[in-house]
């Protein structure tokens, strides 16, 4: 009998989310979306609760979480950077923009900078191909980003 520490607030919130979907196992993906919205990411202990509430195995929840690239088990940075790797952006050089972000922040894709400020991820087409290459940081979208712009963009957040 292992104990999983989560905290009452979080636990209650999770139970509430699951309940809002009638604890239906077929609503798992919606539950995960809501959870990530609330917690920012979906750590293991949270998946344990969801599994219990929806009456499915934890392995199943984990299988679903790892199948869909939208879900993450690691917290994102305060300013999550996403570089679009859709074709339109790629042919306009988004791979080089990504490399530049990695170089400047010294973290690989999917990880958090030491100060927890930034995380870099790749994104599939956001559908703003007219602005290629596209980078989003949090809610903000940057269009037509050139390698040379990267330092300036980061400066906006480093102050």
């Amino acid at each position: 009998m292992a104990k999983i520490k989560l905290g009452k607030d979080k636990l209650d919130k999770l139970i509430e989310i699951c309940k809002s979907f009638n604890n239906e196992s077929s609503e798992l993906i919606n539950v995960l979306h809501q959870t990530q919205k609330n917690f920012g990411y979906i750590p293991a202990e949270v998946q344990e609760v969801i599994a219990r509430e929806l009456n499915v195995s934890v392995a199943h929840v984990y299988g679903v979480v790892t199948f869909y690239s939208f879900f993450t088990m690691v917290p994102k940075g305060e300013f999550p950077i996403s570089v679009c790797m859709g074709t339109a952006c790629y042919v306009r050089g988004s791979d080089k923009v990504l490399e530049e972000f990695i170089k400047q922040l010294k973290v690989p894709v999917g990880q958090l900078t030491e100060d927890g400020k930034f995380s870099i991820s790749c994104l599939r087409c956001v559908g703003a191909c007219g602005l290629a290459p596209v980078v989003t940081i949090g809610e903000r979208t940057y269009g037509r980003v050139a390698v040379g712009d990267v330092a300036d963009i980061l400066k906006e957040y480093q102050g």
Partner: protein, 588 residues
């Protein structure tokens, strides 16, 4: 009325029932299309046809792509080629792809010679792997019973079906996606931390060396060579009905005598029978049943019915993980393996005049969960386990091979006494329905005081997942439930939880078919009819036994007289009973 449709396979015309797959249709005309991920255990009603491996593809005229024959249904007028050049090239290429992501350590793999992948690669004539590249690498997961080496996984996902659909344990799932996809417990943690019951059904169906049992043969060889150790062995009933298969014998042949001879030959100091412990289990479990029944009928509200059997360690793990709220329902009697160990290290050690710590008790089991069970803390005295090692039927076969024995020609030998004598009731412990049949044979006579005229309870037998039967106890009608496979057990447990259960007693075995279909048995390679043949063999042995009721076993009677006192007495409780734990994770 079933509609018949006509089609052509390899230029042969054939008529099949609508709904027949191409694979099944081909089989009818003697065309054996190769399969890899496909598994159909007909007798157990288990079908797994995800169409993932793509080895079974065939050419269907007019179709753009090749069709996977295992899950494509026949359509009238189909013209199918099962071995055109296009098909052979595709199969070979697909096999090369699989092998390009598989370690090339066949020579030292636990599955070598018994591996579906190896056989198939050979059958397809793969002699070179043209495609090379990154190979998946994972940490090997060692649990007390099962070793997971996912580098060898080919994503057939049979284990997932067994774990989730058949057993409803939910320890495994496919995780990640694309090339990274692999079958794993949640968070890629070890099986030990998952709700795995160690039933071993995943191991039983794994076509490669990805899932194997934890092998204790080397430890055992060491102990056998130690002159200071008295090494005794017990063999479960299901082992003798399957061991011969490992030596090329036809399934369903009992090899009890040869097995005993082989064990003695290996150097065991005493060769005993778990069947003896099974008889003892019946004495305890049967008595407990009657006590609970009696109290229940007298209106004692604290007493709950039905009583559930507890001989199956995977089943015990299952309810500890999934139904901890109901842990007071199963019988508290230990499993025969543990009852044997407990008696061996007390009664027998005393009789033989040796110290407990100088005795090594080995069990040969059809089971992987027994490996875990014998390590449980409650079955240890001052850190010394009652049963030191549990090895599987397959490991025993391997030991026999290592010892250069020509198993098939070994002369029959008998078990040693006192723990080698058993009744027919102990023998049928290995089959679904057997434990409850054995228990009823004894409980009936004790309860009614009458002699049971007909000891064969045919209504308890069979391979249906959930069965029920009624027994007349002198006017008291007892409802008996039987489930094998944990998914079926779950159904009965949910009924109990919902207060809808009508049963007085339920027998549960985790493995489909019971112990004869255990995770430690010789691999059936998809032919589940072998399991029924093993069952028939055990029923034959039962029928041939002079004594067929546990309470009539003279050595059991003597054991109670000399040592234990009475069933469910104080000493029995200490040595032969146990308690259960809540293993569900608590989230705060």
């Amino acid at each position: 009325m079933e509609q018949m449709i006509k089609l052509t396979i390899d230029n042969k015309d054939i008529e099949v029932v609508q709904g027949t797959t191409i694979l099944e249709a081909a089989k009818i005309i003697g065309v054996d299309i190769p399969t890899l991920c496909y598994m159909h255990l007909e007798d157990l009603d288990i079908e797994h046809n995800p169409g993932g491996c793509r080895i079974c593809v065939v050419e269907v005229e007019g179709r753009k792509n090749l069709a996977s024959s295992c899950n494509t249904k026949c359509v009238a007028g189909m013209n199918i080629k099962t071995h055109s050049m296009r098909v052979l090239n595709a199969r070979k290429t697909v096999m090369e792809l699989i092998l390009s992501d598989h370690p090339a350590d066949c020579l030292v793999c636990a599955k070598s010679g018994n591996c579906d992948l190896q056989t198939m690669a050979n059958n397809l004539g793969v002699r070179e792997i043209h495609y090379k590249g990154e190979q998946s690498t994972y940490r090997v997961d060692y649990s007390p019973s099962i070793i997971r080496d996912m580098d060898k996984c080919i994503m057939c996902r049979r284990c997932e079906t067994m774990c989730n659909v058949v057993q409803t344990v939910g320890a495994l799932s496919a995780i990640n996606r694309g090339f990274e996809t692999v079958v794993s417990p949640a968070f890629e943690m070890n099986l030990e931390k998952s709700p795995c019951t160690y039933c071993g059904q995943c191991v039983a169906v794994c076509p490669t060396g990805a899932l194997t049992e934890k092998d204790h043969t080397n430890h055992l060889i060491g102990d056998l060579a130690d002159p200071n150790k008295t090494v005794i062995v017990q063999t479960a009933p299901a082992v003798r009905a399957a061991l011969g298969e490992e030596f090329g014998m036809v399934p369903g042949i009992l090899v009890t005598g040869k097995m005993v001879a082989a064990l003695r030959n290996l150097g065991f100091d005493r060769v005993f029978d778990t069947d003896f412990a099974a008889d003892l289990t019946i004495m305890e479990e049967g008595t407990e049943l009657l006590q609970r029944l009696d109290a229940f009928l007298k209106g004692d509200k604290k007493v709950k019915l039905p009583i559930l059997t507890s001989c199956c360690p995977a089943w015990v793990n299952f309810f500890e993980h999934h139904f901890p709220d109901m842990k007071d329902i199963p019988s508290t009697a230990r499993s025969p393996q543990q009852i044997f160990g407990s008696i061996a290290k007390t009664y027998l050690a005393n009789k033989m005049g040796i110290k407990r710590e100088d005795m090594t008790v080995v069990s040969v089991m059809p089971c992987l969960a027994k490996k875990y069970e014998c390590q449980r803390d409650e079955f240890k005295v001052d850190g010394d386990p009652d049963v030191n090692y549990s090895i599987t039927t397959r490991e025993l076969a391997n030991l026999i091979k290592q010892a250069n024995m020509d198993f098939v020609t070994l002369p029959d030998e008998d078990f040693d006494n006192p723990l080698g004598e058993s009744t027919g009731a102990g023998v049928i412990f290995g089959i679904t329905g057997g434990v409850i049949e054995a228990a009823i044979r004894t409980a009936y006579e004790i309860y009614t005081g009458k002699t049971l005229e007909k000891v064969d309870f045919v209504s308890f037998r069979g391979m249906e997942g959930v069965r029920s039967a009624k027994v007349d106890f002198n006017g008291l009608e007892l409802n008996i439930g039987i489930a094998h496979g944990l998914g079926n057990a779950r159904k009965l447990l949910e009924e109990i939880r919902d207060g809808k259960s009508q049963y007085h007693a339920i027998e549960i075995m985790a493995c489909p078919g019971g112990c004869i279909g255990g995770g430690g048995q010789p691999l059936h390679h998809g032919d589940a009819s072998i399991i029924a043949k093993r069952a028939a063999a055990l029923y034959r042995e039962d029928a041939g036994k002079a004594i067929r009721k546990s309470h009539e076993n003279p050595y059991i009677i003597k054991l109670y007289e000399e040592f234990l006192g009475k069933p469910c007495g104080e000493l029995s409780h200490k040595l032969l009973h146990t308690h259960y734990f809540d293993r569900k994770d608590v989230i705060e």
